[in-house]
Amino acid sequence: MSPSAPAIISLSAATLKYGQRTLWKDLNLQVAPGEFLAVLGANGSGKTSFLKILLGLSPLSSGQLTINGAPAKRGNRGIGYIPQQKNFAPDTPLRARDVVGLGVDGDKWGFRLRGKSYHQRVDELLAQVGATSYGKIPVGMLSGGEQQRLRVAQALAANPQVLLCDEPLLSLDLNHQKAVSALVGQQAKQHGTAVVFVTHEINPILEHVDRVLYLAGGRFTLGTPAEVMTTEVLSKLYGTRVEVLHIDGRLVVVGRPDSVLDGHLPEDEQSHSHDSTHGQEIR
């Protein structure tokens, strides 16, 4: 990442409020091509909303957002999106390669008439994420980690300039967490794709991260992992004593007062509130 490169994502004085509650305020952020930005924070701190806004699915309360110089809009082909792992139903009538193919031309009308370049592209993408060996297996029969690789391939299909990831490692085992984050990191470094990676667990992606945006209690902190992930900075952000420990090259945040700061949590985030309350090490 070079500071002089023109930013691909640019937020100025961006604010998000829900009613009386301010999730974050006056956020100024420039993300350069090839930069890997991790978005961390407590549950209900507006991480997922941050992505929704970048996707053009919901608006900022105030402030400006441009992506590649233009206002964010729905269905931007320059943006790839990888959500949380959610298992496909066992009888989904799609094979692994068809799931990847949805990223290639799934948004086009009608049905595919001539498939040569389509099949070439799908083969390329499968190879890129190491999924060639199970390309023809029904997607419902694959493991969560394998399905998530396919989602990475699907998101990369349109050669996006921006890759938005919403907790893509959740419910994956450690090996698959590493493999999937390596794929995303590689995309940033080798193809100059800007990555915005929302997660509550920084360790699997620590080696790839350039900067961290940490959201908590209506405030935020922005900086390199070394700057942000310290006892002083996080304690100040949370407004209470939070300890950042270094154990075997891993960062462990102890004493994050999730429930105190955020009161009620959105329903879909409650399921993993448990492990983040007790530090990020329990896995």
Binding site: P93, D98, L102, D107, S133, Y134, Q154
Partner: protein
């Protein structure tokens, strides 16, 4: 009833060669409905709408019964009823759980209305029963062209939204992020589904619609996941059930629907067995195991 009476009623192929040409239009109608049922069934399975199909069918039945009562065209009545029900479900039920309760509320209401209209109707009682259990024994050429025209609407409609509908059905979140109009597609699909249900009711009746709209696709999904194969098999199975069912029913004195549903069910059973065999033989086996 003795066994001989039973077989004579169920399987009767005397004068078959003379009968067959008379039923050319009926067979054609069956084939057309097979195509529609097989095509739309794959999406019904993908979107988990089996229960919705059942609910739509009951309102379609109410519409047809009302048409019968006031002397209007029955096919038109059932079309109005099912398209109305399908769109209502599309608008009201956004989430799966919500959808199921909405269907559970609508379905008995529709059935009750239908029974009301039928009890007020003073015409032939065979007409009444036909709506619930199927009737197209004799389709005239006007009806056939109406049927073919409506079926064409469904097929062309489905074909034109095929890819985005697949995307939206498989993974609505990602599809939304990619700009696929998920909600509009869902409504469009419900509209087409409503038409398909109304058409299928003409063959198998309101109670047995699932045999045409679910079973063939469910059977296909047992043996393959390749999208093209799923569609081909599903359509093939549905056509086998309808055309085969009509051909078996020609000589006997029994309605078409039991033949269609039984064929459909047998195909499903065979596919289940084949699928189980394929899974045991390692359907999901990789040429070289993943390194993790």
């Amino acid at each position: 009833m003795s066994w001989a009476d039973f077989t004579a009623a169920v399987f009767n192929f005397s004068n078959y060669a003379e009968l067959l040409p008379l039923f050319r239009d009926t067979l054609l109608a069956g084939a057309i409905l097979g195509v529609v049922g097989g095509l739309i069934g794959t999406f019904v399975m993908m979107r988990d709408l089996a229960f919705a199909v059942h609910g739509i069918a009951e309102l379609s039945f109410a519409g047809a019964a009302f048409a019968l009562l006031i002397g209007a065209d029955v096919i038109f009545g059932s079309l109005v009823g099912s398209v109305f029900a399908a769109l209502l479900l599309g608008v009201m039920g956004v989430r799966a759980r919500e959808k199921n309760s909405v269907i559970g509320v609508i379905m008995p209401f529709g059935l009750g209305l239908g029974i009301l209209f039928l009890s007020l109707y003073e015409g032939r009682s065979a007409n009444k029963f036909g709506l619930l259990t199927g009737q197209i024994v004799s389709v005239d050429s006007t009806q056939l062209s109406v049927l073919a025209g409506t079926a064409l609407v469904v097929v062309v409609g489905l074909a034109s939204i095929w890819r985005p509908l697949t995307f939206a059905s498989a993974d609505p979140d990602i599809a939304t992020a990619r700009g696929v109009p998920v909600r509009t597609l869902s409504l469009a699909f419900m509209f087409l589904l409503g038409i398909a249900v109304a058409l299928s009711i003409q063959v198998v009746g309101a109670l047995l619609v699932l045999a045409l709209l679910i079973t063939p696709a469910a059977a296909a999904l047992q043996v393959t996941a390749a999208p093209r194969m799923v569609v081909l098999l599903s359509v093939g199975f549905a056509m086998t059930a309808t055309v085969g069912g009509i051909m078996l029913a020609l000589g006997g004195s029994i309605p078409i629907s039991p033949y269609v549903t039984t064929l459909s069910f047998v195909i499903y059973l065979l596919c289940r067995i084949a699928g189980a065999w394929r899974r045991r033989r390692g359907w999901s086996a990789r040429p070289n195991a993943l390194a993790v």
